[in-house]
Symmetry: C2
Subunit: 462 residues, 2 copies
């Protein structure tokens, strides 16, 4: 089974592949907001139907939350078996008024890197997910077969902490067994160099409410004498970092490893352009620990970030209210041996210890995942490095990843399976922000990259 006719087929079929992606992007599958539950189901059904259309046995599998899609296709006897994972759910779209076009009406526009598809989920993760689907579709179309066995697993809760994922993996461990997982939810290094992830940060989300007076108060009557929960919340969260950018929660750094010298040297060799990376988003100074490089801050250091804060009167004009509550959403990116549940306990204890007598704290979220290290000595890492290098014209880099893709850890813990993460997103894709986009070049070369990897697997057996 040759790769070159598959690549030719991919090139010729690109307009249809784009059209299919646009169909998927029109589905408003925002997992975090219950109002979009039916749309999430719709996206799952669309994917199962699409896999079925080129010979994959696929089904929508209910969970207590949004459904999974599972598909199977058998390769030659003795061929390797890979599981491909992606997620069909997307982030919320607010603030809507900052979008240049309807986030669910995918438009092809001219971007900084040529034609691009602009829509919520274009890059994270529908576009990336479809690169692999399109590659397998092309192999099926050209050869009527695939060079390896493939299990497809698409989830719909990745943007809302994946509450159903672990039980689903546990309940379906036998069915989902494979040699290695392929995950396409990451990006090119510096928007141009293909990259394979060697470490991933974990994530632990928290939502907290500070309760003060039993009802909203008028600051004319109570101002100065009644404890204001916004003041308490600001004081606590304002203490979370010291002047050197270090997180002050006791025991927070327990289990955070030093960066091995070899990795530090590799990263140094990447010549990461911190000034441009920050300058692209209007910044000039790394905000993390003063004694770390920017790449360390993103890839190998833990974080504590306030993702949302609200309380009191936030509408037009002014209201001299002392609110009964104040709220924040906080998240922690975790590395090394940091344990999400331990971090949660340390954070909560640290908040409690700072509360004045008349306030109490309530915590709302569960879940979280540790960081992970990849099994870079698995042979498929070399195949992928070769396939990516051939497609993109430069060697693939082994990099870290600041994002949290807890699925890699779950595959290891529950299925005993290592994972390989690569992807084709660009830093300016605006994921999780208004005007998310995925460049047609990334989509096209992404499909070709996976097709080449499948070709390497075919060669390896020949």
């Amino acid at each position: 089974m040759q790769t070159s006719p598959v690549l030719a087929h991919i090139d010729a079929d690109l307009p249809n592949a784009i059209s299919r992606l646009q169909d998927l992007l029109r589905i408003r599958s925002i997992s975090t907001d219950p109002a979009f539950k039916a749309e999430c189901l719709h996206a799952a059904e669309w994917l199962a139907r699409d896999l079925g259309s080129f010979g994959i046995t696929a089904s929508v599998r209910p969970t207590p939350g949004h459904p999974m899609v599972v598909g199977h296709v058998a390769g030659p006897k003795g061929a390797p078996h890979v599981l491909f994972y992606g997620h069909y759910d997307v982030q919320p779209v607010d603030p809507l008024d900052l979008w240049q076009s309807d986030p669910f009406d995918p438009a092809i526009t001219e971007g900084p890197h040529g034609p691009t598809i602009q829509a919520r989920g274009a890059s994270d993760d529908k576009g990336q997910l479809m690169t692999f689907v399109e590659a397998t579709r092309a192999w099926q179309a050209v050869h009527g077969a695939l060079p390896c066995s493939i299990t497809f697993l698409f989830e719909g809760e990745e943007e809302s902490s994946s509450p159903s994922l672990v039980p689903f993996l546990q309940d379906n461990a036998a069915e989902l067994q494979a040699d290695l997982a392929l995950i396409c939810d990451t990006g090119l290094f510096q928007s141009k160099t293909p990259a394979i992830m060697t470490m991933l940060r974990g994530m632990m989300p928290e939502e907290l409410t500070i309760h003060g007076p039993s009802r909203d108060l008028h600051s004319g009557m109570y101002g100065g004498v009644a404890m204001n929960p916004i003041r308490v919340l600001s004081k606590i969260l304002g203490n979370m970092h010291d002047d050197q950018g270090r997180i002050t929660i006791p025991h927070f750094y327990d289990g955070v490893p030093d960066l091995p010298a070899q990795i530090a040297a590799d990263w140094q060799a990447l010549n990461f352009d911190t000034a441009t990376f920050l300058g692209d988003v209007g910044l000039s100074q790394p905000a993390g620990e003063a004694d770390r490089t920017a790449l360390e801050m993103i890839w190998s250091r833990p974080t504590a970030e306030i993702n949302g804060i609200w309380g009191g009167y936030t509408g037009a004009g002014f209201k001299t209210v002392l609110p009964a509550q104040a709220h924040a959403k906080v998240s922690f990116r975790l590395v090394g041996q940091q344990d999400p549940e331990a971090i949660r306990a340390h954070f909560r204890a640290w908040v409690q210890a700072q509360l004045p007598k008349d306030c109490r704290a309530e915590f709302h979220l569960k879940g979280g995942a540790s960081g992970s290290l990849m099994a870079t000595d698995h042979p498929i890492f070399a195949h992928t490095r070769d396939a990516l290098g051939e497609e993109w014209g430069e060697p693939a880099a082994f990099v870290g990843c600041g994002g949290s893709i807890p699925i890699a850890g779950h595959f290891k813990e529950i299925l005993g399976m290592d994972a390989l993460l690569t992807g084709f997103a660009r830093d300016d894709d605006n994921i999780h922000s208004p005007n998310e986009k995925y460049d047609i070049e990334c989509f096209h070369k992404g499909i070709r990259s996976w097709a080449r990897l499948l070709g390497k697997l075919a060669q390896a057996q020949a």
Copy 2:
């Protein structure tokens, strides 16, 4: 002109007076939200029409914001001339789901002090304003005349910092001239003792936005390396009070006087029940400067309060965003010689000094008013003290007021006119909060109190 038939008329007419107040409360005159502009005009027209119905020459007077209502009626030659001030605008009603009934469908319910009218504005200030209107209506009905000349001035922007008030007073200074202003926008002391204000705190509002990155960022890609404006805002606002409850902004306490020993002794004699005052709203500890009494914190000490805060993702679920901006609404209650513009400059400089290099602050609000001291030696203070004592069965207290009623300062500065503030609200009226109410007892005895004061003015001339 005798007072007793007027009081009898008030008693007999109470059901009609309640019905008129309900009509006024049905008008959604929220001044701070532009969506309710027509309703504010509607309230002004209702009041002018009502004054006209019992012989007051009244008109709606446009301003660049919401209109004023001005009415005039002449008393006997040589009689004193008072100006009565109230405001017909009301606070926003959110959070709406905490209201037990529609805030603009005034219901008579049984409250902790007997029958009460529940609606937004019932206490602040429509109900209080109507106590004086009803007293003058009764005098007109019984005697066909009033014992003094009266100018009525109702504004519609009190809850939104009164932007049109000063220009209107300046432009109409001659027409609005009177011997003294009467203002009914305050409450009973400890919900039972009639009270006359001897000092008022001023107020200076600020809204600030901290700008960081040029767009919202994903914390997976930028977390740890990009400065998060919510972190910056929390740190700055969290520094605004020290551990002793003292405000840390440099020069903030410039011009704050020591409390005179006589006033301190008077207040001590009031036997203010701090435990009950705080306990009623679920609190137990005064939150102000550790070395001050609760009454000082409310009446004679300045404050810095965060009235609203918002930024990042605040909806259902979770979103690992680093937002481009974070916002807060802050207000300062001012006393003594504290100058609002100086405090604004000190606050802004203090914020700027704490900004990291990659953030900038934007400030949005103007306006503000100093605190004021009342001219308690004016003879009308003694008349009012007598009238209130007779109606309520216990001597009226001379008290401070934590709220800001900048109009008193403006009357002094622009019209050279002192003001007397008394009112009949109770501490549990929930002003600015859900389920605002005004007790029928307060409304009824409030009307009778003003009728008695008019009687004292008649006697003084006889």
